[in-house]
């Protein structure tokens, strides 16, 4: 469980993270989405105690990271896979991490196997591709068998096989009851992996919701009443349910913001026969872009201190 409350980080004049509040719950993969430079990495650095919040707080299992007694057993993290000493072997890299966490050397061999780097364990990290470094970084995150996993853009630089591997690993970890928090700037990367998404833009929370909800919200549904005279009644009912309704020819309606199933039920409640209920295919990427388009400015938002 990760909980942010009013989390804020200001770097001199730039407000990188602005009053973020969200929870990342166990048993699910939560995608952390936002355009590049929206504050995802800064948020993750604050979760891990690398950067101190300017105000607000963020906790892991109820405690600020720096107060965790055995951090590696609570949360495993991979931020930047390039952050390793190039001259150390993969095994040695994991060994110092295990030493620091008070974890036995046997676990090092286990995670090397788990991420498929065992055969290259004695190679220096500078001979590794970015994909292999990602795997090695994930091995480090898994060392302490933590209940919370935090990965910053883990699909960057991966080949399709690596992407498939990470996706199934994340699904497995979440299925085992773990809290999995994964950032990405691409919605389509998260579409098949995440159960929930926390979307931020310019350091501010845009939405935190189930991915199914986002999916249904983005979908435009063409609805037609069998009797065109009833179209206005239906439109009114849909608006009351929170939908955005646009009129179409011959009493047809274009409805957004309410799932098709809900539209059908509303029609039934109002005893309106439908001649059409057609979800328009609409990619999540488009919903995501719509959500983050409003507030996004071409340059990072700055606030001048007077």
């Amino acid at each position: 469980m990760i909980s942010a409350r009013g989390l804020t980080k200001r770097y001199s004049e730039v407000l990188a993270v602005d009053g973020l509040s969200f929870d990342v719950t166990p048993g699910a993969v939560t995608g952390f989405l936002g355009p590049n430079g929206s504050g995802k990495s800064t948020t993750m650095r604050m979760i891990l105690g690398l950067d101190a919040p300017t105000s607000g707080s963020v906790t892991v299992n109820g405690h600020p990271y720096r107060e965790l007694v055995a951090p590696a057993r609570e949360i495993g993290a991979l931020l930047d896979p390039r952050c390793m000493h190039p001259g150390r072997t993969a095994r040695a890299h994991l060994r110092w991490m295990a030493d620091a966490a008070g974890i036995g050397r046997r676990r090092v061999e286990e995670v090397l196997e788990l991420v498929g780097v065992a055969a290259a364990a004695d190679r220096r990290v500078d001979t590794f591709s970015l994909g292999m470094r990602q795997r090695l970084g994930i091995a480090g995150a898994l060392l302490g068998e933590p209940g919370v996993l935090l990965l910053d853009e883990p699909l960057n630089g991966l080949d399709p096989e690596g992407i498939r591997w990470i996706r199934s690993l994340l699904r497995e970890l979440a299925a085992g009851g773990r809290t999995v928090f994964v950032s990405s700037h691409l919605m389509n990367e998260m579409e098949e992996t995440a159960d929930r998404v926390v979307i931020i833009n310019s350091g501010r929370l845009v939405e935190a919701l189930e991915i199914s909800e986002l999916r249904s919200r983005g979908i435009a549904v063409r609805v037609g009443a069998a009797d065109p005279a009833q179209a206005s009644v239906l439109a009114e009912a849909l608006c009351r349910a929170g939908a955005t309704v646009a009129g179409g020819p011959a009493g047809g309606l274009t409805v957004r913001g309410v799932a098709p199933e809900r539209i059908g039920r509303l029609a039934l409640e109002h005893r309106i026969a439908l001649r059409e209920l057609t979800p328009q295919t609409h990619r999540l990427e488009e919903s995501f872009l719509e959500l983050t388009a409003d507030a996004s400015a071409p340059t990072a938002r700055t606030e001048h201190l007077v």
């Binding site: 690398l50 951090p71 931020l79 390793m84 620091a100």
Partner: protein, 267 residues
């Protein structure tokens, strides 16, 4: 549920950080390589210092006191100090240059522990190298004498032993200062430059007007090190005990400042 038991009531302590830094030190080539380089360079230079005495002193070795020859060879320990300064600075500086600091401080969020662990490893390595170098320098000086068919120096001479023991402290102290300065500047270069400046400072301050130098010079670590090894100039001299305290104050102040900076700054 009214009470929540911490899932992991006991976590890794300072010894875990020490083990981690020990593993780090020995799992790259550069750091142990520098320790070996310090040893080899120091011994070669000790030999050069001893055999070049006729040129540098303008006197034949036969006309010099045997202890003078061995003392010249012991300057090799100072050569080791320069290489170990690089080692101390690189041990912390490479964390920042390679980005390793990120996983390091995620693994050990109590950052002061990382600093203390690195300091402990640096002190042990530097002391080991310095002791070996000092012993070898004594032997080199003696070998130069015996090789010139001259009577050897008395290696049990208290003055000579005090000089050797005091010399051992030089690389240990400056390697530690380099580590501290690399932490404060987050760079290997910063660590090296700061330690070298501190090493050279007595000479620079010596150019200051007498009264000013008389106040500043005795407060420098060089004065304390010279007082301990019995080679202090009059302006530097203080009792060995006071000198040892002064060195400890320098180390404690340096480590304290670096630890505070590590804690306060974003990693």
């Amino acid at each position: 549920m009214t009470t929540t038991l911490a899932a992991h009531p006991t976590g890794p302590g300072p010894r875990a950080a020490l083990r981690a830094e020990h593993t780090k030190f020995w799992s790259v080539r550069t750091l142990p390589g520098l320790a070996v380089t310090a040893l080899v360079t120091a011994v070669v230079m000790a030999l050069l210092f001893a055999v070049s005495l006729p040129i540098t002193q303008g006197t034949a070795i036969a006309d010099l006191a045997p202890t003078t020859v061995v003392e010249a060879a012991l300057v090799g320990v100072d050569v080791a100090a320069v290489v170990l300064i690089v080692l101390g600075a690189l041990f912390m500086g490479s964390e920042y240059s390679s980005g390793l600091a990120q996983p390091t401080f995620i693994s050990t969020p109590r950052r002061g522990r990382v600093l203390l662990a690195k300091a402990a490893v640096t002190v042990v390595v530097a002391a080991g190298v310095a002791l070996a170098v000092a012993a070898l320098c004594l032997l080199v000086g003696q070998a130069v004498l015996l090789g010139s068919d001259l009577p050897g120096a008395d290696l049990g001479d208290p003055g000579l032993l005090r000089l050797a023991a005091g010399s051992v402290l030089v690389p240990v102290f400056y390697a530690l200062i380099a580590l501290v300065a690399a932490t404060l500047t987050r760079s290997t270069g910063g660590g090296i430059v700061a330690a070298l400046v501190l090493l050279a400072l007595p000479t620079v301050l010596g150019w200051l007007p007498g009264p000013l130098a008389a106040v500043l010079v005795p407060a420098l670590p060089a004065a304390a090190l010279h007082s301990i090894s019995g080679t202090a100039a009059p302006v530097e001299a203080s009792p060995a005990g006071a000198a040892a305290v002064l060195l400890l104050v320098w180390v404690a102040a340096g480590l304290g400042a670096a630890a505070l900076r590590l804690r306060a700054r974003d990693a």
